[in-house]
């Protein structure tokens, strides 16, 4: 779109975005339609992509269409393959989309939809998409090396190792928090439990078919698997209603925790083709398919947002998570606005597949905009639910009580009027025994998704079907992430421990394999168990830890980008990564500091630990802990969480110091000092590939 018409069209789009954005931000007292948010987001994404994205591509990075990418230089047809940009976009998006952007906005909705929506849109444009794009280009110009390697090369051995250890810890926390979301969603839910258990035999059948009967035929067996999944959801309803089988599939949260740990261990040790790979395929397609269905659903249904733009909990007293909006809103939203984990994907398989450097804007910047859009949809799904139901589902039992009448009274007293009948009717409608204190975000999101899908495909009892479809969709890709993460963590741990005991490095031997897998499962299992048994709901405790860790990793990635820009002698443009890096450092260190030292026990880990320590020495029981042993456990968990937060803070400050050192050194010399691989021009026949 060149010339006057193009400019006019962009101006019109910008105007539409601004009007919708202003409507979302300024209209008070009446409910607005979800389309305002969706339109505002999409218009701003497009304008940001066209102008800011292109500014970074042309002025900051000076992308060079004649420079041969690693996919051409190292073309092996396997890991390094020049790939069509649309195909690669799909691959990259499938790799970065996960539970984070879905859960974060649901939890953030406690302050109303406005603060979260604003940060999702502003954050992705200025921070998240910038990070993904910069890291992708930096990695692509270094043979597609990983983030850890890049930090080591550009900043030195010590920060490289520090960043690697930080990454491992972050992964453990991510696995724990993801697993906890599943546990919370499946506890006391025979229907959900049955369908999730049913995915195991379905995956094994798929695995055997793909290995022995029709090798490598992914499409046909995935369709077969999908049909089996749908029948498992339908059959799950029958099982849950059955007088004998219903109770058989009803498990408490701590029972599911142990089952999940055992399962994670087995899945990580078994051959991948049998269980892990087929479930991975199924979950990938289901994930993409459901995201599309949700987008179409929102466009067709055009739901009204029932959640107010701002709730009274903007003061930090909310029941879902504690703490002031700054910094905790930004920590809670996490992945949908900026996610450090994407730096690992952008320096993983994607840079090895780039057909041309100039595609990086579409894939890196554009891919992250798409992820933010998923988060916007999650925010919409959480906001179309009756706010009274939202708070009944997301507040811990210790605050709102355990029976419908008490819960309805408590939630209504906050100004979100709801009757006990509505709570029990909603539970019956979605085929669950209770919706009270189903924290973790997944059940809430599932109710929202079910409402949207049910409006399009209505039917008697179909609400329950769609609810469990949504639960399965989340559980499936979370469990796949847990399995794959455990496997990856096992290799990382073997590598790490191999420094001290070389025998442990043998990845093919059974002994080291079992030890490292057990170690990895034990680590995330420990955090999972303490979260599940935490009387204050667990998600309260683990999600901020996860958010801090994730945003710190993003901070590290952006510091790396800044160092590289200075080394490239692009000082004038370094603000592009400095601005988001500084913001993330402020947010995460403020959050880390408050999590450590805030005197309010609901916010500060140390304050909470001390509160329990004093109570134990005075022999006073703090409800709802059952006995002194349980209180001891809460105390220890809080001390360990405090220690972990300190480690994260140490990692980020260490990387900051090394970054400053590297920048000072880069500025003191007159020439480029970055470690970009030498320029190789495209062969004439490759240039138009």
């Amino acid at each position: 779109m060149q010339g006057g018409f193009g400019k006019l069209a962009w101006a019109a789009l910008a105007l539409i975005g601004a009007v919708c954005f202003a409507t979302v931000a300024l209209r008070r007292g009446e409910s607005i339609n979800a389309l305002w948010i969706v339109t505002a987001a999409v218009a701003i994404y497009l304008v940001a992509f066209r102008f800011y994205g292109r500014y970074i591509a042309r002025n900051v990075l000076q992308l060079d269409a004649t420079r041969a990418t690693p996919a051409f230089v190292h073309n092996d047809g396997l890991d390094y393959v020049p790939t069509n940009r649309h195909v690669l976009f799909g691959h990259h998006f499938a790799a970065i989309a996960g539970a984070g952007p879905l859960i974060g906005p649901v939890l953030a909705a406690q302050t109303g939809y406005l603060p979260g929506t604003l940060w999702l849109i502003i954050g992705v444009v200025l921070a998240g998409a910038v990070q993904d794009f910069l890291v992708l280009v930096i990695s692509s110009r270094r043979d597609g090396r990983s983030l850890g390697d890049l930090v080591r090369e550009e900043m030195g051995q010590a920060p490289g190792t520090i960043a690697l250890i930080g990454t491992f810890l972050i992964m453990i926390i991510i696995l724990a928090v993801l697993a906890m979301i599943v546990v919370k969603a499946l506890a006391e839910s025979p229907w959900g439990m049955f369908t999730v258990i049913a995915t195991i035999p379905i995956a094994i059948v798929m695995g055997i078919y793909m290995r022995l009967i029709r090798p490598g035929k992914i499409a046909e067996i995935s369709i077969g698997g999908f049909v089996l999944l749908l029948s498992a959801i339908w059959f799950g309803g029958e099982v849950a209603a059955h007088p004998t089988w219903g109770p058989v599939f009803t498990f408490s949260a701590s029972q599911i925790t142990w089952m999940l740990m055992a399962y994670g261990f087995v899945a990580a040790v078994l051959p991948v083709w049998l269980l892990l790979a087929p479930r991975d395929y199924l979950s990938t397609f289901l994930k993409i398919g459901t995201i599309f269905a949700l987008a179409i659903g929102i466009l067709i249904v055009m739901p009204e947002l029932l959640m107010p733009a701002l709730t009274t909990f903007t003061d930090g007293s909310g029941p879902v998570w504690k703490g002031s909006m700054f910094p905790f809103l930004f920590i809670t939203i996490a992945c949908g606005a900026v996610s450090g984990f994407h730096a690992l994907i952008s320096s993983g398989t994607t840079p090895k597949l780039l057909a041309n450097e100039t595609d990086a804007q579409f894939i890196g910047y554009g891919g992250m905009l798409m992820e933010s859009f998923v988060a916007i949809m999650a925010m919409v799904a959480a906001s179309i639910i009756d706010p009274g139901v939202y708070f009944a589902m997301n507040s811990p039992a210790a605050i709102i009580g355990t029976d419908a009448a008490t819960v309805a009274a408590t939630v209504s007293s906050w100004g979100f009027v709801v009757t006990p009948d509505v709570l029990t009717a909603t539970a019956a409608e979605i085929g669950e025994n209770s919706i009270l204190s189903r924290s973790g975000g997944a059940p809430t999101l599932a109710v929202g998704i079910a409402q949207i899908l049910h409006s399009i495909l209505p039917g008697e009892g179909m609400m329950a079907f769609w609810y469990h479809f949504a639960i399965l969709f989340e559980a499936l890709f979370i469990l796949t992430a847990v399995d794959a993460g455990t496997r990856a963590g096992r290799f990382m741990l073997q590598d790490l421990l191999g420094n001290f005991l070389p025998a442990l490095r043998r990845t093919n031997a059974w002994g080291p394999n079992l030890i490292a897998t057990a170690g990895c499962v034990g680590l995330w299992g420990w955090f999972l168990y303490q979260g599940v048994t935490d009387p204050l709901g667990g998600i309260n405790m683990l999600w901020p830890l996860f958010g801090i860790a994730n945003q710190m990793l993003a901070g590290i990635a952006l510091m790396l980008c800044t160092v590289v820009l200075f080394k490239m002698k692009r000082d004038r443009y370094a603000w592009v990564s400095i601005v988001p890096a500084v913001w993330l450092l402020i947010c995460t260190t403020a959050a880390g500091w408050m999590k450590l030292f805030n005197p309010n026990p609901a916010v500060g880990f140390l304050a909470q630990a001390n509160r329990y320590r004093h109570a134990i020495s005075a022999d006073e029981l703090i409800l709802p802990s059952a006995d002194m042993g349980a209180m001891q456990q809460v105390m220890i968990s809080n001390y360990i969480n405090a220690a972990l937060t300190s480690v994260f803070m140490f990692v980020v400050f260490a990387v900051l110091l090394y970054s400053i050192k590297a920048i000072v050194r880069a500025r003191s010399v007159g020439v480029r000092t970055d470690r970009e691989t030498a320029y190789v021009a495209f062969q004439p026949q490759e240039a138009k590939a």
Partner: protein, 74 residues
């Protein structure tokens, strides 16, 4: 004179879109384009044997979950 009587361009466009979709879906599962790999082998490494699709698929599957690659996003 060489111009076709009817424009069948839309068929080839459709086929192209479908091929890209399949390629993308496979790549999401860590399986790159097999035809492209065979072409690469024949052109660049004619001395090497060309694996059949099943062998190729198996090798890719193991590579996907090898150490350090299983990282998935949150």
């Amino acid at each position: 004179m060489d111009a076709p009587l009817m424009d069948f361009g839309f068929i080839s466009i459709g086929r192209n879109v479908w091929r890209r979709l399949v390629q993308g879906a496979r790549l999401c599962c860590g399986v790159p384009d097999y035809d492209n790999y065979v072409r690469h082998l024949v052109q660049e490494h004619p001395e090497r044997p060309v694996p059949d699709y099943a062998t190729f698929f198996r090798e890719r599957l193991n590579a996907r979950y090898r150490g350090g690659r299983g990282t998935r996003c949150c």
